[in-house]
Symmetry: C2
């Protein structure tokens, strides 16, 4: 039996690596009956250990940890050199700070060691399916292993790799696409058809992710075969989230989003701004190298309150996020989902 | 009260202009309790009149007619000249036929005159919202006027323009995007977030369109605020559909789809093939001019059974379409949707 069958409410907090993720947010979602998530991405294993301890001090609810699977190795420097030169010229003219490109495995071995010791109920993965040895070690340690997938092929690969559940991420999701590799013209499935295609091939429990901002949309994915919805943007205005002020403000607009590699060298959805529009067409695939290049620029812009240079990750329905305590967001989502399901079931009970 | 409130089953046939649309398919969907649709696109008004008469001879069920709203005028020839030269060179090497670029209003005034006389229950529009005079004349003639929208802004414009209902088309839909204008970097919303965003701003009845191939997905959009689902690809394998053999065969594969302007000069989703991959990156915005240029090439390829040169319009979930009579497709969709709604409602009735 999956942990998903035991969750009091079918709401999973998306990991939200890179700022919005806090132990307080995860704890509030868990205490409200959902599955709280900590993002391990961009943290050291030591920082992650602190956050796990903190969240455990705050709640007895269920918690997961999300980990970025490292890529096969550094990107070829030649592939991103022209973009580096472009950014250097552009930033130089504006006296903006840039960092150096570097590869990193994001402290992968130490994080896996930590998670084997910590035995959190769920460990989910983004950017790939770990090797079988890791999956089995985690399961032996008592963790459920979830793998995030963006296509039917990735779903099949994750199932063969031993995943206990699949987080099915649609095109509408904010932040990075979780695809196992990033490549040009990779198909970008929307959530509903992707759920249907994956469900037609796999009996694994599915968690639906991407653009879910209302109880009605949560009800929709539950009908479409998901055991729960994973919501990120919907929690980013909560007081418990670490979302920057400039990001909060942008989320509350009805600005358009787009998929871009401009900020990090990996495809991600964010609100369109000057940086995205200026550099999107030139950005190569080079993650995490370009993440480290633009990090100082983005950090300074956040501090200065300049939305035009910040990676404003957001799902397509960001304008519907609400600035309420996380527990209240969970309560309203579930109440609205239940009302929506009951109403639709009653209305169509008599259909031919 | 909208016709949508009176439909025995919440299933609307997508118009499927250009071949798959037949009076027989529309009649079968209507007789099964859904809303049958005839596509007026690419027909003369006289051909459309024959089809309306034919469908009325076949069913007493409810029927709609979908009309393409003509663009503001011919595209600037310079904007597509390089693409024409590219295609001419490429086709010449292969001894393939091409047509001449031409603008057309697709017999718009005569079709509107016809529909005012015929008084079909629903007239829906694609590629724009007609001027208020036309909307009001149709309504005075007893027709409901539906407008297809692809963004919250288009939804607001259609509501201001007097639409009775909105067909909300998500990114996952097969065939042409219905956007009021085609322009580069137009936002492409997935269905679920688009439904939520439109619903948050409008009380009009909504019909959800794009990637709905199963009863579970139909149940999903009903929860998400739609009064019905509009399905196209899901009916393209029906014996009543006019889908070509080469197209039927492609739909049954799990091939990837992509959005492209390569075939018609307007953004549309089809199964990737040699023509799409070869020309996609070069294709400008020039509709219907490029439609007429590639029409002979596509016609010949259909006749010769060559899938690599045909516009294989398909929604993202095309692999789930079933080769069953249309009435049986409707029955299974509705039965599965009802089962899915009941199960989800029961499972979550006790959530906190």
């Amino acid at each position: 039996m999956s942990l998903l069958d035991q969750l009091p409410t079918p709401v999973v907090l998306a990991p939200l690596a890179g700022g919005p993720s806090t132990p307080e947010l995860a704890a509030e979602v868990a205490s409200a009956g959902g599955l709280g998530f900590l993002a391990a991405g961009y943290l050291t294993a030591a920082q992650l250990a602190e956050r796990i301890a903190r969240v455990r001090s705050l709640t007895e609810g269920r918690i997961g940890v999300n980990v970025f699977v490292p890529g096969p190795g550094p990107a070829e420097a030649g592939s991103y050199q022209p973009y580096l030169e472009r950014l250097a010229r552009w930033a130089g003219e504006r006296e903006l700070p840039l960092g150096d490109p570097r590869y990193s495995d994001d402290d992968w071995p130490a994080k896996i060691e930590l998670l084997l010791r910590e035995r959190v109920p769920v460990v989910s993965f983004t950017f790939g399916c770990p090797e079988r040895r890791v999956v089995e070690a985690l399961r032996d340690a008592g963790c459920e292993v979830w793998v995030t997938v963006t296509s039917p092929d990735e779903a099949a690969e994750a199932e063969r790799g031993g995943a206990d559940a699949l987080v099915v991420q649609g095109a509408e999701a904010g932040g990075h696409r979780a695809s196992f590799v990033d490549r040009p013209e990779l198909p970008v499935y929307a959530l509903l058809p992707l759920l249907a295609l994956v469900r037609s091939r796999s009996a694994l429990p599915l968690v639906a992710s991407g653009g879910i901002a209302t109880g009605e949309a949560l009800a929709a994915v539950l009908c479409a075969g998901a055991s729960a919805g994973q919501l990120g943007t919907a929690f980013m205005l909560c007081p418990e989230a670490g979302t920057s002020e400039v990001h909060r403000s942008a989320l509350q607009s009805d600005a358009e989003t787009a998929l871009t590699r401009a900020f990090t060298g990996r495809l991600a959805r964010g609100i369109r701004n000057a940086f995205l529009d200026e550099h999107d067409a030139s950005a190569p695939i080079a993650y995490p190298e370009l993440h480290y290049v633009t990090a100082p620029l983005r950090q300074q812009a956040r501090e200065q309150g300049n939305p035009e240079l910040v990676n404003l990750w957001a799902g397509e329905a960001h304008a519907l996020a609400r600035a309420l305590p996380a527990a209240e967001v969970v309560r309203q989502l579930v109440a609205d989902a239940r009302a929506s399901l009951s109403a639709a079931a009653a209305r169509h009970a008599r259909a031919r």
